[in-house]
């Protein structure tokens, strides 16, 4: 028993038992038959995947995709200029700005979702201000709408979009921009031909770590969405903890994993392309 053996054994056994095996079991469960008492039993079947595509589940699934997509795009629209501006500061200011960005994480995200609920309520601050200023005649129904879910998703996920984009701005070589300017490219050209392509890995990385997780955040839909604005996470949670249809719940998760694999593939492609064109390394994730 030497140190080397122990370190390697720990690494492999922990990852095998708590990562590899569980994922394998999840895929396996998605192919089994649901059973009320034993949760999932043989024989293997593809029924679960067929059930995913029945109108009832499909409509919730698509609505959830739509909500996440909108939230992700709004995150991107805020995070991109934000990261750009932050990266232009001196390193001590940058450190402070990034610190302020991640500080709210130290309060549990459920508590922050509750904060949004208070903010958007019928008698909440937004309604009080807007009616007080006379902009709205009477309080608007903000809570339990699509708007509230998207607002909450953007609120919780924005930093995850900022950080990878910031990291690709950080690596952007300013001499490339000078070269562009010297060669007569105007601002818009410099943005479209130099900045945007070179920060694309950051954008895609941000997209990856925001889009799919957004679909899983069931507590946002629970607190802010009402019954009509469910996320995929609500379906999965319900299937596992209430309806106890583990195979169908697993099938939904396997589909999520497949979407993620597909997006990673795209990311790898783009990164490869940028590496060839701009000499950057693969460190955005």
């Amino acid at each position: 028993m030497n140190f080397r053996f122990l370190a390697i054994a720990l690494t492999i056994s922990w990852l095998a038992i708590f990562v590899f095996l569980p994922h394998l079991l999840l895929v396996n469960t998605s192919l089994l038959t649901p059973h009320l008492e034993h949760l999932a039993v043989w024989p293997a079947t593809l029924d679960n995947f067929q059930k995913v595509f029945t109108p009832l589940y499909l409509s919730v699934f698509l609505h959830s995709l739509e909500l996440s997509a909108i939230a992700t795009i709004i995150c991107l629209l805020i995070a991109y200029p934000f990261a750009w501006i932050v990266s232009a500061h001196t390193s001590s200011v940058r450190a402070w700005l990034l610190f302020l960005l991640v500080l709210p994480f130290w309060t549990n995200s459920l508590i922050r979702t509750y904060a949004i609920k208070i903010l958007l309520g019928k008698n909440g601050v937004v309604n009080t201000i807007m009616t007080g200023l006379g902009l709205w005649q009477e309080p608007m129904q903000l809570l339990y709408t699509e708007f509230a879910v998207i607002f909450g998703l953007v609120y919780l996920l924005l930093p995850f979009m900022v950080l990878p984009i910031y990291s690709s701005f950080d690596k952007l070589d300013p001499t490339l921009l000078e070269a562009g300017r010297d060669l007569g490219a105007h601002t818009l050209q410099r943005f479209a031909r130099i900045i945007l392509p070179l920060t694309m890995p950051g954008i895609i990385a941000g997209f990856l770590i925001v889009f799919l997780p957004a679909m899983g955040m069931f507590y946002i839909a629970d607190l802010l969405g009402g019954a009509k604005n469910l996320l995929l996470g609500n379906i999965i949670k319900n299937l596992f903890l209430v309806a106890r249809d583990w195979p169908l719940g697993s099938a939904f998760s396997v589909i999520m994993m497949s979407i993620m694999a597909l997006m990673l593939l795209v990311y790898a492609r783009v990164n490869h392309y940028v590496q060839r064109r701009g000499g950057l390394d693969d460190q955005n994730l």
Partner: protein
């Protein structure tokens, strides 16, 4: 964009991020339960928070899991990073791939994989299931920071230690560990943050024997308003800010030495 409009944009984003929390903090001192208007200053919600045994217990449980998970993740993650950095072994690529999967998988998928494995292994849902799953989802982040640090320092130091007769363990404890301490500390902090922030994984692997904060809070705020949660949020924010500032000082001091 002009300088002013850039600052204006930054301010707007920070207002968006902080306004909801600020409202909670202000309301934690507001006599009015629903916080529609200011009805005068009070400490009563803090008193109620301290009297709310279930909530306080859930808070301590969360803190315990967070501290333990961060510490175990720091230890195991450092050993993992060291193995991946220094040794060649079968399944090395696979180990890296597994860490990548943990980092990239949406929480909800991870939560379910944990639930399934605990069922299969017969581990009761409660303290141990929470601890194991929190350690696991923190691991890749520790490995990344520590590995980057190891990559950054002079490999000859390890060779020198070996030439001077130090075994692998001795070299690890006397050379690698002190040198990668700043990275381990930030990995620990990151893990603690992730653990405290987690809702999704915890909701799946928690059991009635060990209730933690998100579960307790969820049942309190699902229906109505509860000012104790405001008080709790304010306390967490203050404590965490102080902790982070101390950690920053610590890291900066380490860098200067």
């Amino acid at each position: 964009m002009t300088r002013t409009s850039r600052w204006f944009f930054l301010m707007a984003v920070f207002i968006y991020l902080y306004a909801p929390i600020a409202i909670l903090v202000v309301n934690s001192f507001n006599s009015s339960k629903y916080g529609h208007s200011w009805k005068g200053f009070t400490w009563k919600w803090y008193d109620k928070l301290l009297d709310n045994n279930a909530l306080m217990q859930a808070f301590w449980h969360s803190l315990t899991v967070g501290l333990l998970a961060a510490s175990f993740a720091a230890v195991i993650g450092t050993l993992m990073a060291f193995s991946l950095y220094r040794y060649r072994f079968a399944l090395k690529k696979a180990a890296g791939g597994m860490l990548f999967i943990v980092m990239m998988s949406p929480d909800i998928v991870l939560a379910i994989t944990f639930l399934v494995i605990f069922m299969v292994l017969g581990i009761q849902l409660g303290f141990w299931s929470l601890l194991i799953s929190h350690i696991t989802f923190c691991l890749p982040f520790v490995v990344i920071v520590v590995y980057a640090r190891l990559n950054g320092f002079d490999g000859n130091l390890l060779e020198a230690a070996k030439d001077l007769g130090a075994g692998e363990a001795r070299a690890f404890f006397t050379v690698v560990l002190p040198l990668s301490m700043p990275a381990i500390v930030s990995g620990w902090l990151l893990s603690f943050t992730l653990s405290l922030d987690d809702v999704i994984v915890s909701s799946f692997v928690t059991g009635p024997s060990y209730e933690i904060l998100p579960i307790r809070v969820f049942s309190m705020v699902k229906i109505g308003v509860s000012p104790e949660v405001n008080a709790l949020a304010a306390l967490m924010l203050v404590v965490s800010t102080i902790l982070v500032l101390i950690a920053q000082l610590f890291i900066r001091k380490g860098k200067n030495q």
